[in-house]
Symmetry: C3
Subunit: 355 residues, 3 copies
C-alpha cells in the first residue's frame, strides 16, 4: 500500500510557521518549511543533494537556506544559488520545492506532481468566512497508526457508543442504524438519535434540560479530510434534517496527514454556530475533544500493532463497515490511477465490449 | 525453530486472575484471560476478528467480553453473541478459545489442537497434597531469551558453581561429575557433593554446623517444566540416596513458558519438607532465589544476544552438555511430529528395511 | 560495504585498560581486553565457544579468563586450559586472539589475518618523543555514523567554516580554495587563510592582537587516522609554509575506529609546540575541541540517518570533495584486495596488454 500523492495535505496551522526552519514529513517526504520575509510559507525537500544533511539543520540566509555542512545555498524555488569553493552552479544542484497554500489559518502542501497543484481543489467551507460561525483551531494529534485506520474511523459513527461513552456517544445510540451515501465525494455516513438524553458533550455545552434529537453526519472527503457535522436540538422542537442550523451545530474538522505508513498526524479544529468569540467555550470544547481523541488514539494504535503481527485468519466485515469499505476502495483506485499510465482507447481495439 | 504447541503451559498463579481482562502471550499467541462469575478462568484469542482490536482493550459484559471498538461481543467459548447494528451472527464471527485448568494455585493453558487437551497430562506431584510439605508460590521471572536456553539451564547442574557461587553453588562442586538419565521423561541430571561446607542457601536455612552431603537432581519434564530436587544432610548421617526426605529437602519448580522466540517467563515456586507454614522462611528463601535467578537472567540474556549475532564458528559441546543436548533433540522431535502428518505404513512399501 | 581488517585500530588509551575485563568492539568483532600481571594488554574474542556467553561476563583467574557460565578457562593466547568436568582439552576449544601494541599511551589492535600484524605499520610521529612537544590525550567521541562519514570529514577543510563558525573556522575562509595531494599516503588537503582575524581557537590560545596567517593541513592516513596540522602566525611575520614550527602549531590527532556499520568511535588527542606541561591549557583546548566535535557529531549522525532512508536521486559531488572522493576509492580498493585472492600472472596469459 502507499499514499495518494497528488493531493493537498495539511502541514500545520499558520501559527506553526515562522522564521525558523521547521522539519515536516508528509507521505514519507521530509521537508524543511519556513515563512519568507514576505510572509509566504515555503516547503523544500529536506536533504542537501551533496552529502544529504537535512537543510533543517542549516540556517536562513535571507529567504534562502544554507546547508549546515558545506554551505550550499538554495532559494525558495529549490534552485542552488551558491556552492562555496566553486563558481559553476549546475542544474542538478537543486532541491525539490512543494506548492504551499495558506487559507483560514491552515497551511496546505501539495505532495505529488507539482504541475497538478491546483489550488481550486483545496478543501474549503463557506462557514469559514461567515460571521455567524466561529472557527477555533485545536491540536495536532499524533498517532502511531496508518492514516487509513485514522480516516476510516471518521466515517464510522458506530464506534462512538463504544469508544466514547462519556463524551461523544452513549448507550442510546448503540443499535441505531447508520445511513450511508457512498456515491460522490464526500462519502457520508449519518444517523439521528431521536428523543434521548443529551451526550456528555451537549450536557456541558447546550443547556438542554430534557431529551434531545441528536445528529451525526460524518463527511469524509478524499483523500483524508473529515467534517463531522453534529449537534442537538430539544426533542419538542421536532427539527427537520435540513434545518440543522437552528439547533446547536458543530463542524468538527479533521485534517488527516499521513507521515509514513505507521504514523499519522490529525490536525483537528471546529466551527460552531454558538458561543461566537467565547474563548472559554473553545477551551471547554478542546478539553472534551482531547478526552475523546485520546480514546481513539488508544484504539487506533492497538489496531496498528495487531496489523503488524502475523495474520492467521481473514478479518470479517460487518454491516456498519459500508463507509470504511467504500473509502478504502476509493483510496486504492486513486493510488492505482496515480501509479499507472492509462494510454486510453487504441484506434483498433482488440476486444470490443457490449454491455 | 518454533514451539511445542500441543502442551499445557503455565499462564500464571491463581492469584493473578480475577474479574479484569488480562493479556497473556504464550507461544506467540495473544490471549485475553479472566475469571468468570462461577470462578473459572477463561482464555480467548486476544484479537477481535473485525478490526483486530485486542479484546483485552474492551470490557466485561457479565461473563462475556465486548470489543472496545464496535461492541462485538463474545462468550466464554469464543462464540459471537452480538454485533451492534445487525441481527445475523455468522459462524465466522468467533474468537479461538483455549482450554484452561487450575490446580494447586497454578493456571495452565493448552495451546495447540484443542481436541488433544487432555488434563491427565498436566504436570503434578503428590507433595502438593501432602500436609508434611509446604508449597510456596514465587515470582514470574521475565527473560529476554529463548525458552530452550532457559529450560536447558534447568537440566545443567554444572553451571551452578560458576553462575551462583554465593547462593546455590560453591567451589567444592566444580569438578564433581554429573550423572544423567536420558531415557524417559523427565530427563534427569544429578550429582552428590559429599563432605563439603554447606552452600550459602543451607548456611542460612538448615542449621548445619559442620560439613554436609549435598544433592542436586535436575528433573526436566517435556516440554519445559523443571523440578530441582536439592537438599543437604549432615555428613555424619551418611544419608542414602533414596532417603532424601530425611534431610532438608526442597523441590524448586520452574514452569518455563515461551512467550515468543526471544522472550520467556519462568514462574518459579518451591515445595519443602521443613518450616511448614513458616512465612518468614518462605520470604527468606524467595530472597535467595531472586538473587540466584537474577544471575541466571544475566547469563541467559547475554547468550541470546550472542545467538542473534552472526555466527562465525560452530559452537562446541562438552561432557556436561549431555542433558541439554538430549533435551534439545527431544524438543526438535516433538515439533517435527506436530508439524508433519505421518500416513503410516503403506500396504505395499517401496522399500523394505532389514535390521 | 565493509571494513579494512588487516589494519591496526585504536582500542583506547593506556589508561583505559587495567585488571578488569573490558568489552571492546572493532569492525564488528567483540573482544574482551585486560592487562596481565606483567602489564601487557590482551585482546581475545569475546564469546565462549561453548554456549557463547561473552567472556567479559566472566572473571580473571590470574592472567587467564574463566567463562561465567560453565567455567571454561582460556589463557592469553586464547588456548583453553580448563574444561570443568572433563580432562581432555581439544584444539577446537579456543578463542581467537588479536595482536595488541601499546605506544605513547595508545593501545592498538590488529583485527585481520594475524600473520600480517606488522608493528612497523602502526602510525607514529616523531613529535611524540620530542621534548619540545606536549602530547595530551582527549576523549573517545561516540558517533552513530559509519566510519567513512567520520573519516572523510577529516580530509575536508571546507566544512569548517559552516560547521564550526565559533571555534575552528570563521567566515574569512568560506571561499578560500583547498589544495589536495592525493598521491601516496596520507591524502592531504590544505589551505592557508592569509591576513585574517584569528579564529576563536587562537583568540583564546595564541595571544594574537592583529590579523594572522592561518593554516589547516588535513592528513588522512589509511585506513582512518587523521592528523590535522593547524596553526597561526602573525601576518607581519610572513611565515613560509615549511617553517610552521615557528608559529603556534597544533597537531589534532583522530584515531577513527569502526565499531560497526552504523557506529564509530573517534579517539582524539593533540600534540602542541606551546604551553608545554601546562595542564590548564590542555583543559582549555579540550573544552574547545569538545564544542567543535559535538557540532561534527550532530552533522555526521544526521547524514547517517539520511543514508539509511530510501534514496530517490544520485547525490552530487562538488569541487571540495576531491579528498573525500579519493579516500573512499582507496578504502574500496583495500577492501577488494583483502576479500579476493590474486593468483598473479599465469605462465601463458590468454590476453596480452600493450600500453
Amino acid at each position: 500500500m502507499s499514499f495518494v500523492k497528488n493531493a493537498w495535505y495539511v502541514a500545520g496551522w499558520s501559527r506553526d510557521f515562522g522564521d525558523d526552519l521547521k522539519k515536516v514529513t508528509i507521505v514519507d517526504q521530509n521537508m524543511v518549511m519556513y515563512r519568507t520575509s514576505e510572509g509566504n510559507v515555503v516547503a523544500l525537500e529536506d536533504r542537501c543533494p551533496h552529502r544529504l544533511l537535512p537543510l533543517s539543520k542549516g540556517r536562513r540566509i535571507g529567504d534562502d537556506v544554507q546547508c549546515g555542512y558545506h554551505g550550499m545555498t538554495f532559494d525558495c524555488s529549490g534552485k542552488c544559488v551558491r556552492i562555496p569553493g566553486q563558481d559553476n552552479l549546475p542544474a542538478s544542484a537543486y532541491v525539490e520545492a512543494f506548492a504551499v497554500e495558506e487559507r483560514h489559518g491552515i497551511v496546505w502542501v501539495f505532495m505529488g506532481d507539482q504541475s497538478k497543484a491546483d489550488t481550486d481543489k483545496i478543501f474549503d467551507m463557506a462557514e469559514f468566512s461567515d460571521p455567524n460561525w466561529h472557527a477555533h483551531h485545536g491540536d495536532a494529534l499524533h498517532l502511531k497508526s496508518n492514516y487509513l485506520n485514522v480516516a476510516e474511523n471518521l466515517v464510522d459513527p458506530a464506534h462512538v457508543s463504544f469508544v466514547h461513552p462519556t463524551t461523544l456517544g452513549n448507550a442510546s445510540s448503540e443499535n441505531v442504524p447508520v445511513h450511508v451515501q457512498t456515491k460522490g465525494d464526500p462519502i457520508i455516513a449519518w444517523r439521528w438519535i431521536r428523543n434521548a438524553p443529551p451526550i456528555g458533550f451537549f450536557q456541558n455545552f447546550g443547556g438542554f434540560s430534557g431529551n434531545v434529537d441528536r445528529w451525526h453526519y460524518y463527511n469524509l472527503h478524499l483523500p483524508s479530510t473529515a467534517v463531522i457535522d453534529f449537534g442537538s436540538a430539544a426533542t419538542e422542537d421536532n427539527l427537520e434534517e435540513e434545518n440543522r442550523n437552528d439547533g446547536v451545530r458543530i463542524f468538527a474538522l479533521h485534517f488527516v496527514t499521513p507521515v509514513n505508513e505507521q504514523y499519522t498526524i490529525d490536525h483537528w479544529m471546529h466551527l460552531r454556530n454558538t458561543a461566537i468569540e467565547d474563548e472559554a467555550a473553545s477551551e471547554q470544547m478542546d478539553a472534551m475533544f482531547r478526552t475523546a481523541f485520546a480514546e481513539d488514539k488508544e484504539v487506533l494504535e492497538a489496531v496498528q500493532e495487531e496489523e503488524n503481527r502475523p495474520q492467521k485468519r481473514r478479518p470479517i466485515r460487518i454491516a456498519i463497515d459500508k463507509g470504511p469499505n467504500i473509502y478504502r476502495r476509493r483510496i486504492r483506485e486513486l493510488i492505482e490511477a496515480e501509479q499507472t499510465e492509462d494510454l486510453g482507447e487504441p484506434e483498433k481495439p482488440t476486444f470490443v465490449h457490449h454491455d
